[in-house]
Symmetry: C2
């Protein structure tokens, strides 16, 4: 390998590393947005909610940057394995962008909830949200370290999130039936719970993209302990 | 241009046309799934609902095929404009796949609703769904004909869908407050309405991808008559 070639290869590697770093940063930002939205909800902190809503633009801008960088890398005619890495980055960026939207939506709904008296039912939502944030951190680590086994573990753990969501959904319905004044705020909690369940689905998508970038189109192994009856009709 | 080169160019064009045709077929299937799900709901037809749920696999398989074909095309090192077409196809396929999921979810929820007495409130949902299906047809035509102006019109019309959704959302809340027995079925209708509003968002995404494949990163013109207060907190 001559020096010129070495230089090109190095710069190529650097750019892929930069793409990965931007994506990890984007994912960490989305996770912290989710946690801030949950704090804004439980503490009824309108200023914090507004900050989450404003910050969502930064996540959108990072997705644009990743799209732009990925297209430039693709135009250089990458090897098949590198192309998989780039395509996975595009998909993961799109998943993280959606996660950011859901976090911002939770912040928006927390502002609506501040207009009604405090509800104790936000505790269950907070627990669901913390589990979703945990899933996100785990899948981002699996992505960063290219760890297919850890990615599959995140995918398997999604069933627990679904079960928690389904329980919370039923609980919120009973509150609504007991007290008509709880209907409007609990409806917002239902949609926030749904957002968190969807964040879990996006974490699963990211896990499947870690598998794709490592193994291409080789089918994923079947899910462990997956009970489809737990999967919410939602 | 020699014969060999002509042959290659033709085959390249053919493959891009095949990609577009598969995508249009996938989009038509998703639209018809949505309409079948709405029929299953209004006619309380469990067999039709099950058919929609089963058919969703076909949409998922088409997305896999498009991903596969697109990767093969990318590996040939396309021109920048062709690369845009291919990347847009990947994104549009992902949007259509989600639309199919939402249609299947509406069918699943219709089965749950069949367990309660008939509700008159399904009419508003049906109207919302027909408008979403209309948006889908329009954006697929814009995609097929590479018509940027028509795509922008679909994007603008999303505000009407949002307004209809917001009205239906409020209406369903009042039914729930009037009659606690309506809470569970109306919650399903709320989520179905949300699915339809999201289908509208995906139609908007597709419209923006028509713009991208025609104009690259040139920013889209501002939306016409867009009143952000109409955008649901959802």
């Amino acid at each position: 390998m001559n020096e010129q070639h070495q230089h090109i290869v190095k710069s190529h590697d650097d750019e892929q590393t930069a793409l990965r770093d931007t994506l990890i940063y984007m994912g960490q930002l989305a996770t912290s947005q989710l946690e801030s939205a949950l704090n804004a909800l439980t503490q009824r902190n309108a200023a914090a909610a507004h900050e989450v809503i404003t910050n969502d633009e930064r996540i959108d801008a990072l997705e644009q940057q990743i799209n732009h960088d990925a297209i430039r890398l693709i135009q250089r005619g990458p090897l098949a394995s590198d192309l998989r890495v780039i395509l996975a980055a595009l998909r993961v960026a799109s998943d993280i962008e959606r996660i950011g939207d859901y976090a911002a939506n939770i912040a928006k709904r927390s502002l609506v909830l501040n207009q009604s008296p405090p509800l104790s039912h936000t505790r269950g939502l907070d627990a669901l949200g913390r589990m979703a944030a945990h899933q996100l951190r785990d899948v981002l680590r699996a992505y960063q370290q290219r760890d297919g086994d850890d990615a599959l573990r995140v995918r398997d753990a999604d069933a627990e999130l679904d079960a928690l969501y389904t329980g919370l959904f039923r609980e919120l319905l009973t509150y609504m039936m007991e007290d008509p004044r709880a209907i409007t705020p609990c409806t917002h909690l239902l949609f926030m719970a749904k957002n968190l369940e969807r964040i879990g689905d996006h974490a699963t998508n990211i896990a499947e993209n870690v598998w794709f970038l490592l193994h291409g189109d080789t089918p994923l192994p079947p899910r462990n302990k997956r009970d489809d009856s737990l999967k919410p009709v939602a």
